[in-house]
Structure formats: structure tokens, C-alpha cells
């Protein structure tokens, strides 16, 4: 039989049973729709995490203290902290691939001022910090080299701190007290949102590291050094350069291990990505099962249909249809059922993902690849699950089929 005739014959018998056709397709529609929505959620989460990690700063490299051990007992990360401002200065001076360097001195304290008080994280940093973190000022200004050198008591505050201490007013020009030391607020940072781990980046106060070290923490060691390169391609080279400068600065002998750790954004991103990839796969697998169930639904209906249409098959065989004609007819029917169901399922999936994104605020992303895969898979389901009933139909004996009531 010609292809056009085949589709006509299959189309006729599908159109003759509209309700049954719809119910059969429903399984595939739900299956394909679920796959699309689930994968959209997974991929949306992935792209959100990627954005958040890029949001940390551009081309950022993080240097943290290494571990130390005494008599085989590891003291854990930062147990032997030898990072100093000198390291940071040396990197700034000597690093050829490094565009900006900032030490980070951290202390938790109560900030008092304006409407009350607020416990927050105070970061002592250098002027490069705003470039490394790619963090613009919303109002006022960032502190400058003079502030840093003269250890002035100035602060730049994050949005969350501003909202809690000075709700509804401009904090720039106001005073806050940190451990009884008055600081003047000279700038307000723009909103940056949450990190990939969910902590609020805007809940912070930035001040010159010199001031924080002398006035607040009283420690000479620093928590981490942030650096950035001119371009992402330079990150591996920069990491090597930082390592050699740091070893020189710490006067490490050839046989000694690094007493610091260097990580970059990509490392962080990879960890986060792999987690969400597992999640996406899991979601897709669950949705795939519903697609499988839809396929079994098609097989079920086609089997019923073969029994119900035994006489019709007998007529077709008597007037000269070959077994292969009947087989093809039933295969085309089940394939058309599942392919049309798949197409509707894709539309449902698009709509569902859009709606879900609208109501939950989750990021959803639909890639063309998954649409193609879902469509191909649903057509395959039709052929696979349609084959057994179709073979049953083709194997019927015309004499018995004609006599069937």
C-alpha cells in the first residue's frame, strides 16, 4: 500500500473513535509533558546556579589557608593560618596575570546605629574587592587608598544591613558603631542576592582591612585572599603564578607542601552543576516511567482494538490485503497515536513549565534537544508497543476472522 493510502486508512480508524483516541493519547501526553516539565526544572536550576556562581565575581580565584598536621593529627582547614596582608601585597606587586587582589579579614559583630542593632559579617577588604566581586555601589562611594592607608573608620554597607538599620532612608553619611567604634557610612552596595548555597550576600559590612585588623579583630592573619585575572583563559596560569609567589612568600622548601589552597569559580561551579545534573536525571527518569506507562496504555488499547476489529481485519484480508498490509496499518495507527500525543505533550510541557515558573518563581529552561528526544521517544514507544498487537492482527486467519462475532 502507498504511504498516503496508509495514513488515510490509519487516520480514518483513529478519527472514527475520537474518545478512545483521546484517552489513549492522554497517557503519552502526560508522559511527554512530565518529561519536558521535569527536565525544564532541572535545567532551570542548573542555569540559575551557573548565574549565581558567575555573580560571585568575574574570573575570581580564592586563596585560603592550608591544613597543618602534628604527629599525624590533622587540624583541619585553616588550622595553620599563615595568610597575611604581606602575601596579598606581594601578589599585587609581582603577579603579572593578576588584575586585582584583596585580603579578606572577617569578623562577626553587632552593628548599632539608626533604628537599632543588627548582627552581621564585617569584611575587611582592599579597594580591589569591588572589582573582583564585580559589585557596584548604589549610592555614595567605595573607600579609597587613602582611607586604607590611614585606617579611617569608614564603612560600605550591604542592602540587608541598610534595610534593617535604616529602613526607608539613605544610610550614606550616617554613623554606626561596631564594637563601640564609630564608623561613618560612606557607601551603599547594590543588591547582589543569595549565593548558590543560599546565604545572603547583602548581609555584610565592608571596611578597610587595615581598620578592621587594628580596631576590630586585632589579628594579623587573614581568612582568605581574593584575586582576579584579566580573562577566564588566564585562570590556570594565574593559579600557577599565585602558587609560586605564595611559596616564595612563605619561604617553603622544595619538599614542603603548600600551606594554602587555591580554588577558582569553575571548581565551585562544577560541584554545584554535578549535583543538579543528578537531580535532573532523577526527575527525567521518574517522568520517563510515566511515558512508559503511557506506552503500555497504547498497547492495551491496540490489543482491545484488534479483538474488536477482528471482522474488519477478516474483510481486509478477504479482499486482498496481505498480512504485512494489516501489520503496517496497525503499526501506523499506534505510531500516529503516540506521535500526535507526543506533540500535544510537548505543548502541555511548555505550558506547564511556564506556569510552574510563574507561580513558584523557579527558573525553567526548555532545550530543543529534549523536545526532539521526547518526540522521538514517544514515536518509538508507539512502534514498540504497537508491534505486538499489530502482529496479532496480521496473523489472523481470514476465514475465522470473517466468522467472528
Amino acid at each position: 500500500m502507498k504511504a498516503t493510502v496508509l495514513t488515510k486508512v490509519a487516520g480514518q480508524s483513529i478519527a472514527k473513535n475520537k474518545m478512545r483516541t483521546l484517552l489513549t493519547m492522554l497517557g503519552i501526553i502526560i508522559g511527554v509533558g512530565a518529561v519536558i516539565v521535569m527536565v525544564a526544572i532541572g535545567q532551570g536550576a542548573q542555569s540559575q546556579i551557573r548565574e549565581q556562581i558567575e555573580n560571585l565575581g568575574t574570573n575570581m580565584i580564592v586563596i585560603t589557608p592550608g591544613t597543618s598536621s602534628q604527629g599525624g593529627v590533622s587540624h583541619g582547614a585553616g588550622s595553620f593560618n599563615r595568610l597575611t596582608v604581606d602575601d596579598s601585597d606581594k601578589l599585587k606587586r609581582e603577579g603579572l596575570t593578576i588584575s586585582a587582589v584583596s585580603p579578606v579579614v572577617t569578623t562577626f559583630t553587632q552593628a548599632i546605629g539608626g533604628q537599632g542593632n543588627w548582627r552581621t559579617l564585617v569584611n575587611g577588604v582592599s579597594t580591589d574587592y569591588q572589582f573582583i566581586r564585580d559589585w557596584p555601589i548604589e549610592s555614595g562611594s567605595f573607600f579609597d587608598e587613602t582611607d586604607l592607608r590611614t585606617m579611617r573608620k569608614v564603612a560600605v554597607i550591604g542592602k540587608t544591613v541598610a534595610d534593617n538599620l535604616f529602613p526607608g532612608e539613605d544610610p550614606v553619611g550616617q554613623q554606626i558603631q561596631l564594637r563601640n567604634v564609630p564608623f561613618q557610612i560612606i557607601g551603599l552596595l547594590s543588591e547582589k542576592g543569595q549565593t548558590a548555597e543560599g546565604s545572603d550576600q547583602d548581609d555584610t559590612i565592608l571596611a578597610p582591612h587595615t581598620t578592621v585588623q587594628t580596631r576590630l579583630s586585632g589579628r594579623s592573619f587573614i581568612r582568605q585572599i581574593l584575586a582576579s585575572t584579566f580573562s577566564p583563559e588566564e585562570i590556570p596560569a594565574a593559579q600557577d603564578e599565585i602558587a609560586s609567589i605564595m611559596r616564595e612568600s612563605h619561604e617553603l622548601a622544595e619538599w614542603e607542601e603548600d600551606d594554602f589552597t587555591i580554588r577558582n569559580q569553575t571548581d565551585l561551579a562544577d560541584t554545584a552543576q554535578s549535583t543538579t545534573q543528578v537531580m535532573t536525571l532523577l526527575l527525567a527518569a521518574i517522568a520517563g516511567i510515566s511515558l512508559l506507562v503511557g506506552g503500555i496504555g497504547i498497547m492495551n488499547i491496540m490489543l482491545v482494538s484488534v479483538t474488536e476489529r477482528t471482522r474488519e481485519i477478516g474483510i481486509r484480508l478477504a479482499i486482498g490485503a496481505r498480512g504485512s498490509d494489516v501489520l503496517t496499518q496497525f503499526l501506523v495507527e499506534s505510531t500516529v497515536l503516540s506521535a500526535v500525543g507526543g506533540a500535544i505533550g510537548i505543548a502541555v510541557g511548555f505550558g506547564g513549565a511556564r506556569l510552574l515558573g510563574h507561580f513558584t518563581g523557579w527558573n525553567t529552561a526548555i532545550s530543543p534537544a529534549i523536545v526532539v528526544i521526547a518526540l522521538a521517544f514517544s514515536a518509538t514507544v508507539g512502534i514498540f508497543f504497537g508491534f505486538y498487537p499489530a502482529r496479532q492482527a496480521a496473523a489472523l486467519n481470514p476465514i475465522e476472522a470473517l466468522r467472528y462475532e
Binding site: 486508512v9 480514518q12 472514527k16 476465514i399
Partner: protein, 264 residues
């Protein structure tokens, strides 16, 4: 079609069909020799169990004999494969069944077109036109878009006959074609068969009613799988004339009834 003066449409020699059920064997056909020439109208008669259905199925290429040979249009078909038999059914045989066997929810013209869709010779191209012509031939030119449920029994059987004719087969096989019809419609359908036969179409009727077999030109009677009688019909029935008589009688009855009512 080649000159078939010498080639019979159907020739069976010692046709045998044995069903082996466990230890007993049933000889449904026991050496049937039958020759049907072109343009014949033959009736096969016999009680149930006489083997007439088995013979019909084998002649219709739906079943294989267990012995003997069967030639259709000079082609030996008892040795062909399943697919070739399907093609023979499509090209050379037209079936008319007792139960009409039309596809439900399918218009008359789509039903008639159906055999053409399975045509493998590629000769029958303009299938809608051929189907419409076949319907015209059985007097249903104005019913092409009606579905079986919208047609009377007689009309449904006419659609089935059109479907059997549309491929221009060598022979029309009709298995109890009037079994599901009332007496007037039966005569109507039989007159259509006679009319088609007058135009040269070879027809094989299977029936157990003597009244119907008398419409044929020749009667073959089977019993226990053997031919016990093979004779031409001497006083052949003219179905068209009978139909006119029936209608005239009915019209008379109607008139009498009306008169009776008007008098009363």
C-alpha cells in the same frame, strides 16, 4: 484478459480437504472435480456439513486443499504462498457474504474503494472514479456518501456487490447472499446477479435454498464432500419478472385495502 474460450475460470481435479482432529479425520472434501466456464452462473447446493463452505473457501483462495489441484484462470493456485494468494484474491475474486461485511462508520464509496487500496498491479489508478462507477452499476449512484447504518439491508448488499465488482474480478463468489434479507429484497438482489451475469460476469452462488439455486444456469449438489449431482437448470427462474409480479401483487393488495377502507 486473454482469450479464455478454452481456459475455464475454475478447474479443480480431485480436490480434497481433510481435517485431522485428534484420531478421527474429517473428509470435508473428497475428490471434487469441478469446471466453471466463463460467463456461467453456477449454484452450489448442499446441506450444512456437505462441504460447500470448504469448497467456497478453497475456490476463494482463503484456504488450502490437502489434495488435488486447483486452477484459476489457468494458474495453479493451490501451491502459491500466502501473499500471492492475497494478491489473487484482490485481482481475480470478488466476495459477497451473507452478512454484507461492510466496514462500519465508513461511507459506501470508501467501502467500495477498499479493494483498490490493496491493488499491487498499479493498473487501477483513479480509485474514486472506479468506485463511483461500481456503485452506479448496482443502482446506488445516489447513495455514495451514506454509511452502512443509513442503508437498508438490500442496499448494503448492493454496496458489497459493488465492492466485489470494482476490481473487475474473474469470478464473483456469493456465499448465501440473500440469507439476511427479506423475500422481496432477496429477489431484488438475485435479479441484480442475473443482470450482471447477462453482462458476462461469472458468478458462483452458494446456497441451501432450491428457490435461489433456480436462478442459476447450472446446479452442483454436494453431499459428504462429493458431487452427487451436476445438471443444468431446465426451468430457470427470472428474478426480475418475479420481482415485477411481487410488486404488482402488493400494489393490488394496497388498492383492495384502500377500497375496503373507503367503502367502510
Amino acid at each position: 484478459m486473454t482469450d479464455s474460450r478454452g481456459t475455464p475460470v475454475i478447474r479443480t481435479d480431485g480436490l480434497t480437504k481433510i481435517y485431522a482432529t485428534g484420531r478421527t479425520e474429517v473428509r470435508a472434501l473428497d475428490g471434487v472435480d469441478l469446471t466453471i466456464e466463463q460467463g456461467e452462473m453456477l449454484a452450489i447446493m448442499g446441506a450444512s456439513g456437505s462441504g460447500k463452505s470448504t469448497l467456497m473457501n478453497i475456490i476463494g483462495c482463503l484456504d488450502y486443499p490437502t489434495g488435488g489441484t486447483y486452477h484459476l484462470d489457468g494458474i495453479r493456485v493451490d501451491e502459491l504462498g500466502k501473499n500471492q494468494l492475497a494478491d489473487i484474491r484482490n485481482e481475480r475474486i470478488g466476495f459477497v457474504f451473507q452478512g454484507f461485511n461492510l466496514l462500519a462508520r465508513t461511507t459506501a464509496i470508501d467501502n467500495v474503494e477498499l479493494p483498490l487500496l490493496y491493488d499491487r498491479t498499479g493498473r487501477k489508478l483513479d480509485t474514486p472514479r472506479l468506485a463511483a462507477e461500481a456503485l452506479e452499476r448496482v443502482g446506488l449512484g445516489d447513495r455514495v456518501d451514506h454509511e452502512p447504518s443509513e442503508l437498508s439491508g438490500g442496499e448494503q448488499q448492493r454496496v458489497a456487490i459493488a465492492r466485489a465488482l470494482v476490481t473487475q474480478p474473474s469470478i464473483l463468489l456469493a456465499d448465501e447472499p440473500t440469507g439476511n434479507l427479506d423475500s422481496r429484497t432477496s429477489v431484488d438482489v438475485l435479479s441484480l446477479f442475473q443482470q450482471l451475469n447477462d453482462h458476462g460476469i461469472t458468478i458462483l452462488l452458494v446456497t441451501h435454498e432450491p428457490d435461489i439455486s433456480r436462478c442459476a444456469k447450472r446446479i452442483v449438489e454436494l453431499r459428504d464432500g462429493r458431487v452427487i449431482r451436476d445438471a443444468p437448470v431446465l426451468n430457470r427462474r427470472n428474478a426480475a419478472a418475479d420481482l415485477r409480479d411481487i410488486d404488482a401483487a402488493r400494489a393490488r393488495e394496497e388498492r383492495d385495502k384502500e377500497q375496503l377502507e373507503s367503502v367502510g
